[in-house]
Symmetry: C2
Subunit: 236 residues, 2 copies
DNA sequence: CTCATGTCGATACACTGTATTGTCGCTCTA
DNA sequence: TAGAGCGACAATACAGTGTATCGACATGAG
């Protein structure tokens, strides 16, 4: 029985694991946004039937969870930070850069609790950088407050960015599309303060806005961390 | 020709407007989350065919925009705030309460630029409260920073809340579901700082966490607003 | 060599957003 | 008053979605 007689071995299914699945899903999302990630398309990229994936995940949301955690791997600090401020500063900026690389991250950020191993590692590294500087509750508040800030800021930045890009040519095209409505509204005179802000504002670039707001928040944290009794000035 | 001879007039379509459409959509979302809002279901609530809605919106996303703006009406300050801090404080808390009434708001917050009339009115009222206290750019930064904070904080709070509720009975059931995995991970010893935080943390309630973080951020804003030269302490 | 097992793919279902097309009542004109 | 145009509405259609179910089949054990 020569090779010629023997039929080709039956098409063995491609071996699959979560890593390959997530990589395919992330690639799809990078190309076409979260909406482009469908169970069928991910499976197709892996030469598998759609139902195959349900051996590894039990719901599409879980696929999103895995994608999130894959990105948290990019957010992990490369080397131990010098101090707590550098740790939080770095965390915020790395998260932002990850979101710029993977715009769909903005849709997921803060959407569900991040409990994957990489997300936990990020939390660990961050909390560790605050160790000994304050009681645990203050440290957690610090992390949560800063995280809340950059989550919100990143979401807004990417929402704006997407709104611009959606119209086609960025900026000029956008001004022509959204402009008429907005200028129309502002010219009604019902929003004088807003109009002044829009017309007289400096329109600083996104990164600087992000960095500045972050510094404000970090200053607030510093005030509590370095306060004599750990409480700092009373709020309100 | 009596009434009896005359046939019933043909079924006249229910008059429709955006307000009714949005009200129906909001009701559906309140009951079953954003996922429960489908063009068909909204239309069905109004005794209309699905395509009917496309005379008022051109895309489902636009329906979401309208829903958002409807909620912004609830966020508008009832009376003029006493000072800038009260304005921002009130804005944050009203937004949070709106999100607790309409949990789906968390999915939309910060997702797309809010340009509806009510959103603009909210921005106007907020910026107006800061008028004269600083240059325009500083005022905008203040609003954006605080907004970023409470957007992120609200999203996280509702994500956690949803994760708890999803398992069925809140808290105890949740501990039993997510608990095993989390404790398992923490007990590996790979996350000592995180483990300490989870086990020794005080687990303060959500509203206090929100309020405290907000006060921190407001303090940071205050430092810039009342600074002699409007810049306050240099960051980083 | 046979049989049980468990993995994989096909099929199916209920549903989605939206384009297209047809219909029908109203209003304006001759 | 008859007709014609028009605009709003509904029905149908299509391509795609997440996921449950089920049948087949290659692989391992006996």
């Amino acid at each position: 029985m020569t090779v010629w007689d023997r039929p080709e071995p039956p098409h063995r299914p491609v071996p699959l694991d979560r890593e390959r699945i997530v990589a395919a899903a992330v690639a799809l999302a990078d190309e076409g946004g979260l909406a482009a990630v469908s169970v069928r398309k991910v499976a197709a990229r892996l030469d598998a039937g759609p139902m195959r994936l349900y051996g590894f995940i039990s719901t599409k949301d879980e696929l999103f969870d895995l994608m999130m955690d894959a990105v948290y791997a990019e957010i992990l600090p490369g080397e131990p930070p010098g101090d707590w401020r550098e740790a939080l500063h770095g965390l915020a900026h790395r998260t932002r850069r990850a979101a710029l690389r993977h715009p769909w991250l903005a849709d997921l950020l803060g959407g569900r609790p991040a409990l994957g191993p990489n997300a936990l590692a990020v939390s660990e590294a961050t909390l560790a950088a605050l160790d000994g500087l304050a009681d645990i509750d203050t440290a957690m508040r610090a992390v949560e407050t800063v995280s809340a800030y950059f989550t919100g800021a990143i979401r807004r930045e990417l929402a704006d960015l997407r709104a611009e890009h959606a119209t086609g040519l960025s900026r000029s095209e956008w001004q022509r599309t959204r402009g008429p409505y907005l200028t129309g509204m502002l010219d009604t005179g019902r929003f004088p303060a807003l109009a002044k802000a829009v017309y007289d504002g400096a329109h600083v670039d996104a990164e600087e806005t992000f960095a500045t707001g972050l510094d404000w928040v970090l200053d607030a944290v510093a005030a509590r961390l370095t306060g004599i009794d750990g409480r700092g000035a009373p709020g309100r």
